[in-house]
Amino acid sequence: MSVIIMPDLVLSYFCHALKSHRLLYSMRMRFSPIASLIRRSFLTILSISLLSISASGEVSAEAGKKLFKANCASCHKLDKKLVGPALGDVTQRRSEEWLLKWIRNNAEFRASGDKDAKAIFEEYGGSVMQAFPALTDDDIKSILAYTIEGDKKAAPAPAADAVAAPAAGGDTSSPWLVYLLGGFLLINLYLLLRVRNTLKQLNGEEPTNLVEDLGVFSRILVANKRFMTFLTVVLALGFLYALYSYLMSVGMAQNYQPAQPIAFSHKIHAGDNGVDCNYCHSSARHSKHSGIPSANVCMNCHMYIDGSEIVDATGNAKYGGERSPEIAKIYAAIGWDPEARTYIEGYEQKPIQWIRIHNLPDLAYFNHAQHVSAGQIECQTCHGPVQEMEEVYQFSELTMGWCINCHRETEIKGDNGYYAGSIDGSASISDRLVERFHDEKITAANIGGLECGKCHY
């Protein structure tokens, strides 16, 4: 028996070793120190911005920052030209009175015949700046205050981080406690053995050491048939369980987290900035594929956001105020010249080669639109808390059992006209379903969602 089992055992060990090696190779730890560092730094930024929002009201640079982000940032930066000029030193270039008029309604101001206003309009190729009649003088002054002060207020960030540091240290101290207790127990064990041997010597017996004791004990156990039968059964069951678990995991890629060509953070986009999943993965509503966004979709925002504002945990500009090298990869793919702010003519575009994380086998047909549009399932139901993931990993098992379980539990959207509408004046599908299942929950399974041919064809 054992002769037959042995090669399999070795084999499964090999497989396992290989698999774990592959996983180590292709995955990163989910909570790597770097990731936690980034997470902390963003929490800091978030808390600062929350602070500044609450402080709005009178003329203040903090309120100005908020207004600037809301109204101006899509075309202006403090330190460099974007669609419009850099505004870092605008109060030195223009009088406050001039700026108030210009910002409130620049077209009217130009029409009034101001030479400077006309000149600046022509300098920027006649691109029209939006009018902001809703901004009060205080609002505009706040914005101007912010342009003077800039983002210097980010300095207190290290202090906040310093507060957080001891807590992190507290986490790491727990293993020491275990070692301490372990050591204490070992000393106790040693002392007890010494006491026992001392007692034996007092009785005139030979002192024994631990190894000899264990030998005697194990000989007794081996001689005990009941114990051996029990042990064999336990070992066999354990082995079978391990084998079964292993075999069931073959081909599964839960937690698969490959390194992507661009260190894209879903946390920043979907989490911190609340971008709707469907904005980038727009075809999920229409198609079987969720679609990885093409680079031109990235450019809708990243034409203006080049990552130079990202700050690290210490509150310093992460890329030294330069554009993010990750965002630069998008520019390299599509051929955007961030200095000239134009697409490069005749550029040979290079598609971004993402690594696919969720892979269903070809034999299974899955349609995103069915789940997103018809079923109105949240993306997170299958993909997990993507908005918290710095690097996306496969959250769900994506096994057939997992699919079927959800089909058994999920109620259909019976108010969809497909079910509720009647095409010929007779009972609608909804009516017929209610008649058949009465008060039962009408799940995907009840309308045939477990039939082979619904997913396999």
Binding site: L11, I334, E435, Y457
Partner: protein, 1006 residues
């Protein structure tokens, strides 16, 4: 008393043929190749011990298991800039026009992720909006890896500027030397191309344009040109006809530029006033198979028969003596024509000048002009002129041609004299899709875009203008003829600009026309022919005396003229009548075969062999033409299909069949000498039983009986069983639990045997839609074809149970006689796919639950559960399940036939359908991918699935509207109405399978 009954296993055994004797002696059909194995000395001397073997086994098992642990890293590469009109995973449709040098059709092209993957019929109301088998299959010709990839000059790879310069230089030199510059094409009916040719004519005084139709209509065109003033054929309007008389015109199967099957089916709806169809022909064609009355006639008797009818109807033509039985049939036909009151039309096949004159005269006398034969509405698709082709050949031989540009045609293959002639051209240049027979003999060859890559426009018929647009970027370095000609005449506009200019010149909105695929225009109409001058043609026609020897009539099957000969889907599609694949052959009547010593024999494994013949027409000889004995073939005639015997088309087509064009006949028929040759040819057939053996597989009724009893009680009775409770139908005598088919949808399919002509477009459509593998000739010979949908063809037999009873014929003799088709059989076609039984025999026997029933009335097949026991196929009464004996995608054995074996061919695969691997069963799914897609689209817009919102691939491809698919739970659906019709019946109803597919009884207007 011991029984002395003798049981016989096959007709062969009964007849005590050689095969059955051999079988009786030796159980195995083929010897087990033990000798071969034992004779291999090396294998006998091998030193591998049992222990070594086990070691290898253990190692390979371990290695395979280890390899299986690895998971590949899959990349996902999005667009850099995604086109607005495209969403990955959602198909886009483009209206365009299909042309392959022979056919024309208005079509809709389905593309996925920028790849054309399916051809669908064009908008309703368009001329030739249907898709025949060739139009369906044409999408694969786009991905043919045998296509020419770049320009070639003197056998070396070149570039466009060099080859174009060489052509320009030759044309200029010809102009200087006073020799001709000739453009040879197929028929040109594109306004843009005609304009470009006109500009070239202006630029070169020595320019000549010659049009060549592979299967010539030249003599017919000459007659009609003299009558209507333009080189075109009149439009046939079957919807206005009550009687169609066809002399060997295979107007349903192929050969005609105008597609008539849709109008034919419309007028063949049973009831009073149903179109009657009389066919007089020598070969048993698809069209003749559908006829209400079929008369056997030799090609040489046709002009005599036409003359007889002309005289009967009051015209004057010279008379010749005809067979008595033929005269009798013609007399009856003349009566019918007279009674038709102008609602009749006479069509004639082939291309004989005298027959053309006589048929024009006959149509004029019948009163067809302006009614069923619209002489004021010319069809421009055929324009070839054989006289000009003959002149070109003479000019070439006399070295009067300085530059020859051959574009989109293959004259060396089509005309046997051309091969010698083209060598005498000073300079020859071919714009071609592949290095074909002509291009190989040309000094330069350059790739032409496939129609799915090209801009173009067409005026196929008076009053209609259509636009073709590219649906994919050129796969290879090809250039359209419009641009090549433009460069020669100094017109640098792109093909698109040229087409847009001609559309705008007609006063059309370019974007709208492009979107719709065409528009109605006023141009192209003519005054129409005068019936008087047409009738007068009869007296000038020479009426031939019937010949006594063998005659050969050419025909076209799905391969057509041979432009798409390298398309494996067309070869895998069985000929609708002979049911043979991957071949052409001489069809011969049984009496002639007996007289000349030709044989067809069925081997014990079910495969069919036939003797070879040598065929001689004048001084043209074809060697090794296999002979197939065809019921219904007129005695004294043989038939041969065009399109085979290619030598430079690609690995699929080369060396398959014989080249019928090599006999040098352009008129469609000829006197022929046939002699027997050595050896037997191996055929690949998909159907062994030719008759229904007295069973009601195809239910048929005459029009008179149908009209007399509309309830169908007398001609569509349900089979009943004698039970303890009296007689019961199979539905009532039911042992099974029923599925819930009322709550959701219940998909049903109706197949109208009255509309189905058997053309096979649905079979090809099914192939494409469902990624059905191509298996090639040998596997079909092994009876392992993979068609999910087949069209069974049954011949009538002279024997019936009634006759056996009357004449006191015993059972054995009766069944033996029943197996033999009649000499002049009536023919029925029946498409059979998975019947989606609601009490399915296959489902109960599957040990792993791989095939299960859905509540929507479909029988599902989960490939990944299937372990390949094949119990289901054995238990299927309809024999529609197909087993993957090989991995057709990768197995070397199929490298020459399976298009999925190269990267180009794989681009045509439907991404919504799994490609099946070896060892699993497959079958019709009722296009479940389309069902699921339609339901999802309905859910997305929040509306119930409308009847007709979608249909299966076969139903969509069917020009005749024979297939109706829909939800019978929708009380207003067409399929529900069909199910309630008196003609509806289930195939093998007595088995009690309760299929979701049902058939509509065939009504013959006899």
């Amino acid at each position: 008393m011991a029984s002395n009954k003798v049981y016989w296993k096959s007709f062969d055994q009964l007849a005590n043929t050689e095969v059955s004797q051999r079988l009786a002696e030796n159980e195995f059909a083929q010897d087990i190749p033990a000798d071969v194995f034992l004779a291999d000395e090396r294998s006998m001397e091998a030193q591998t011990s049992r222990r070594d073997f086990l070691k290898f086994l253990g190692f390979s098992t371990a290695a395979a298991t280890l390899a299986a642990c690895e998971q590949p890293i899959i990349e996902s590469v999005p667009y850099v800039v995604k086109p607005d009109s495209l969403t990955p995973g959602v198909p886009s449709f483009y209206a365009t026009a299909y042309t392959d040098g022979q056919d024309y059709a208005s079509v809709l092209v389905k593309t996925r992720e920028g790849r054309p993957i399916k051809i669908e019929p064009g908008d309703a109301g368009r001329f030739n909006r249907g898709t025949n088998a060739r139009a369906q299959a044409s999408v694969l010709s786009l991905y043919d890896s045998a296509r020419l990839r770049g320009p070639v000059l003197n056998g070396n790879e070149s570039d466009w500027s060099t080859v174009e310069a060489s052509l320009k230089k030759a044309a200029d030199a010809a102009l200087a030397q006073g020799t001709q510059f000739v453009l040879l094409t197929s028929s040109v009916f594109s306004p843009s191309l005609q304009a470009a040719i006109e500009r070239l004519r202006q630029a070169y005084a020595n320019f000549q344009h010659v049009e060549l139709d592979a299967v010539s209509q030249s003599n017919n065109l000459d007659v009609w040109e003299s009558l209507i003033g333009v080189r075109a054929l009149p439009f046939v309007d079957l919807t206005a006809a009550n009687l169609v008389v066809s002399f060997g015109s295979d107007f349903l199967g192929g050969g005609m530029a105008q597609q008539l099957s849709s109008d034919y089916a419309t007028r063949r709806k049973p009831g009073s006033g149903m179109l009657r169809h009389v066919e007089l022909e020598s070969n048993l064609s698809l069209t003749g198979s559908n006829a209400d009355k079929r008369v056997k006639i030799k090609p040489s008797e046709v002009s005599g028969a036409l003359a007889y009818l002309v005289n009967e109807l009051g015209g004057s033509a010279s008379k010749v003596a005809l067979r008595d039985d033929l005269t009798k049939a013609l007399k009856a036909l003349a009566g019918e024509l007279k009674a038709s009151n102008g609602k009749a039309v006479v069509l004639v096949g082939g291309d004989d000048a005298n027959q053309a004159k006589l048929s024009a005269a006959l149509n004029a006398l019948v009163g067809a002009f302006g009614a069923t034969l619209r002489t004021d509405k010319p069809v421009y698709i055929r324009r070839g002129n054989e006289a000009r082709v003959a002149n070109l050949i003479a000019d070439l031989k006399a070295k009067r041609v300085g530059a020859l540009l051959v574009a989109g045609t293959n004259p060396v293959y089509f005309r046997p004299d051309f091969a010698e002639a083209i060598k005498s051209a000073t300079f020859s240049w071919a714009l071609t899709d592949r290095m074909d027979e002509t291009a190989q003999l040309c000094a330069a060859a350059a790739p032409e875009p496939h129609y799915l890559e090209a801009w173009g426009d067409f005026r196929p018929v008076a009053g209609e203008y259509t636009v073709a647009q590219p649906t994919i970027k050129n796969l290879f370095n090809s250039k359209a003829l419009l641009e090549v000609l433009g460069a020669l005449s100094g017109d640098s506009r792109s093909a698109k600009d040229q087409v847009a200019a001609s559309a705008t010149a007609m006063g059309l909105n370019w974007n709208q026309t492009l979107h719709d695929g065409g528009a109605s225009v006023t141009s192209g109409s003519v005054a129409g022919a005068s019936a008087g001058s047409a009738a007068a043609l009869a007296s000038s026609a020479k009426v031939a005396k019937p010949a006594s020897g063998m005659e050969l009539a050419f025909y076209e099957n799905a391969v057509g003229a041979g432009f798409q000969a390298n398309n494996p889907w067309l070869h895998e599609l069985p000929d609708p009548v002979t049911r043979l694949t991957w071949d052409n052959y001489l069809t011969m009547a049984a009496v002639d075969a007996l007289a000349l010593g030709f044989e067809n024999e069925t081997n014990s494994d079910g495969s069919l062999d036939g003797s070879y013949a040598t065929v001689k027409v004048g001084n043209h000889v074809l060697e090794n033409v296999p002979v197939f004995i065809q019921p219904g073939q007129t005695a004294g005639t043989v038939g041969l299909a065009y399109g085979y015997g290619r030598t430079a088309a690609g690995k699929v087509a080369d060396a398959m069949g014989v080249n019928a064009y090599a006999l040098g006949v352009t008129t469609g028929s000829a006197n022929v000498e046939i002699t027997k040759a050595e050896d037997m040819h191996e055929f690949a057939t998909v159907q062994l039983g030719n008759t229904m053996m007295g069973r009601r597989i195809v239910n048929e009724v005459t029009l008179a009986d149908f009209v007399a009893d509309p309830s169908g009680a007398s001609w569509n009775e349900k089979p009943t069983f004698h039970t303890i409770d009296g007689h019961k139908t199979s539905e009532e005598a039911n042992l099974w639990a029923d599925h819930d088919h009322e709550t959701m949808h219940m998909w049903n399919m109706s197949i109208d045997l009255n509309s189905c002509t058997g053309c096979g477009a649905c079979v090809v459509a099914c192939h494409i839609e469902n990624n059905v593998p191509v298996v090639g000739k040998q596997e079909i010979r092994n009876l392992r074809d993979m068609h999910w949908l087949r069209i069974d063809r049954y011949y009538s037999s002279d024997m019936s149970k009634e006759r056996a009873e009357d004449e006191n014929i015993g059972g054995i003799e009766m069944y033996a006689k029943m197996e033999e088709p009649s000499e002049s059989p009536s023919v029925v076609f029946q498409p059979v796919m998975c019947q989606h039984c609601n009490h399915a025999p296959c489902e109960t026997v599957c040990p792993v639950g791989a095939t299960v029933h859905s509540r929507e009335g479909l029988n599902h097949m989960a490939y990944n559960r299937c372990i390949g026991t094949r119990y289901c196929a054995n238990n299927c009464p309809y024999k529609v399940r197909r087993f993957n004996w090989f991995n057709y995608m990768a197995n070397e054995q199929f490298a020459d036939v399976n298009p999925s074996q190269d990267d180009y061919g794989r681009m045509v695969l439907n991404p919504d359908v799994t490609v099946r691997s070896r060892g699993v069963m497959e079958k019709c799914t009722m296009c479940i991918q389309r069902v699921q897609y339609a339901k999802l689209e309905a859910k997305k817009v929040g509306q119930p699935v409308a009847d007709g919102a979608f249909t299966t691939a076969c139903a969509e491809a069917c020009d005749s509207g024979a297939i109706t698919f829909g939800d019978v739970n929708n009380t207003k659906s067409a399929v529900r109405a069909a199910k309630a019709d008196a003609r509806a019946y289930h195939l093998l109803e007595e088995v009690g399978t309760q299929p979701s597919v049902f058939y509509m009884t065939k009504v013959r207007n006899a």
